[in-house]
Symmetry: C2
Subunit: 334 residues, 2 copies
């Protein structure tokens, strides 16, 4: 019998296949060709992107010249644009506003042939710092309510350039998915006086069935109501609302565990396309007792079909307990 | 400047590209091979599916033998299973129940090489009747709260068999997407005393910018806050909550306009993969003043990426006004 499972935070239901569970070999991955030649993100091609906003690299390097190792630039084809005011207009049913926002690309490495998980810890920490620093900077712009950091790898996950990169979009409203989480978490907090994410972490560690890995600062789980096969969440073990407010040591710890999570995924599914996103607190809140930042890592190995779009609930062919077992075994301890 | 548009019913925001809008030629369609040989849905292969539940065809034909033109069978690999009770269990955070439900396949034609839009009107009406009759029948099973009818065409829209077919899933709860629509529509009705869908239809007909087609009974629009390029909605012009309660003449009228909408899509985008879904009233309600059944038709020509998954708002590269123009022109009037 398949199982219907309810996400405890937002109430989304997921159908988990149990009898005909799909194991790693059971997916046919769609590996479409990718990438523009010459690569706009390679050193020497800095003029192919808008001027940089942030970079680390050699001391005394000239901006927009080689010598960087991580570099942030505005997206050349932005989904939202930085210039302008919030013109709201509403003719009856049709509310709209100018597509004001920021859309930036974090080029994660100068090496075209390395992925985020291949970087050494210090370089991976640079990427995590880039996300943090850009959130901190965009927070100063009072037109923005949220910054969503995300990464698409592989064409079927929406990536159009193969060179390792992540992105962020600053928006003039809090995205509905984040609002739903905050609302669900707030209700739980009102009833129980505790953070639901903290309770989930404790329950998962106690149960130890869906824990992929943990270190002192973070835990990686395959969530109970995983939407996608081999979905993972990475959560800070101590309650924290805002990604950008972590102590320095946590970025190092996160870099290590994120790289390992991606390596596990590569080992189990042979470099699948994936998305990950950071869900952190809205820019104009500060340390909510009920909201806990986290990363959601979603392999894109099954096509989302009519039922999912129409119902808003998902069919997941791989039970998260089985996925956790494969992912744990994919990297032996130490 | 791109535009941020708010869906008037559920409040979902969409980013609509305006300056670099993508026209029909600007999409690279993913046409993966599809289909099992021999085709399990072709006449003569009836034994490859579970025994039929519903069929039309030659008088006095023997069930599960050729002679049918439309045929409904249980899905051989069901997402939910029909046998069993609703065992609910909830250990703290982790609520689940048995995956009880029905999952059926509507084989739309006996001809392997015809699509739904190629059928003559009477055969297309048979398909619409199959959806209706199955909803009416499943409604008798008090364990079910909802029947979602949907169609996936093309591998990247989730179809695994090329032979024209649609599906339905009966679920023991109302799907969250339908709940959100009903909730939004109910709020509007409380404030204005009118159905929001009726108001949208009137506003669209008045404005005539996003209307693709209308006949006496139905209207086809590209919705104001379309999530997907060339998304279309088909709505009954007169308020009606339940797909299965339409007068007979409406099924004929719907068959004609649905076939034309699909043909428009084929003409504009050269047989793109798509999903469509029917959003109708929950099984245990009867004629809600605020909820209006409709079809949502979603071409799958752009990969959904991290931002959409993480934010729950969508980036649509083709403004619906532009899409409507192409779709209108794709089939000359009469």
């Amino acid at each position: 019998m398949p199982e219907l499972r309810r996400d405890p935070i937002i109430g989304r239901w997921v159908i988990i296949a149990t009898e005909r569970s799909r194991r790693p070999g059971g997916f046919s991955l769609n590996r479409e060709p990718q990438g523009t030649v010459p690569c706009p993100f390679c050193p020497g091609n800095e003029s192919k992107t808008p001027p940089e906003i942030w970079a680390v690299g050699q001391k005394n390097r000239v901006p927009n010249q080689p010598g960087w190792t991580t570099r942030v630039v505005p997206n050349k084809y932005p989904a939202l644009e930085i210039e302008g005011d919030l013109h709201r207009s509403s003719e009856d049913l049709f509310a709209k506003m100018d597509g004001l926002g920021a859309h930036e690309v974090i080029v994660e490495t100068d090496d075209h042939n390395r992925q985020l998980e291949d970087l050494d810890d210090a370089r991976a920490v640079d990427v995590l710092h880039a996300w943090r620093d850009r959130i901190v900077d965009l927070k100063k712009d009072k037109r923005f309510e949220y910054v969503l950091v995300f990464k698409n790898r592989g064409a079927s996950a929406g990536a159009s350039v193969a060179h390792a990169h992540s992105q962020l979009i600053a928006t003039p409203m809090v995205p509905i998915r984040v609002k739903q989480e905050i609302r669900g978490a707030e209700e739980y907090h009102e009833q129980k006086g505790r953070c639901i994410y903290c309770d989930i972490i404790q329950a998962e560690l106690d149960k130890n069935e869906r824990v992929v890995e943990h270190n002192d600062d973070f835990v990686v789980i395959t969530p109970f109501a995983s939407r996608f096969a081999f979905e993972m969440w990475i959560l800070p073990r101590v309650h924290a609302t805002d990604y950008d407010q972590m102590p320095e040591s946590s970025y190092v710890s996160l870099a290590k565990i994120l790289k390992k999570a991606l390596t596990r995924l590569n080992n189990v599914l042979d470099m699948p396309p994936y998305n990950f996103i950071i869900h952190t607190g809205p820019l104009k809140t500060n340390g909510l007792a009920h909201y806990h930042w986290h990363i959601e890592l979603m392999p894109k190995i099954v096509h989302t079909a009519g039922f999912e779009w129409g119902a808003g609930f998902y069919i997941n062919p791989t039970p998260p307990e089985l996925a956790a077992r494969y992912l744990r075994d994919a990297l032996p301890d130490k």
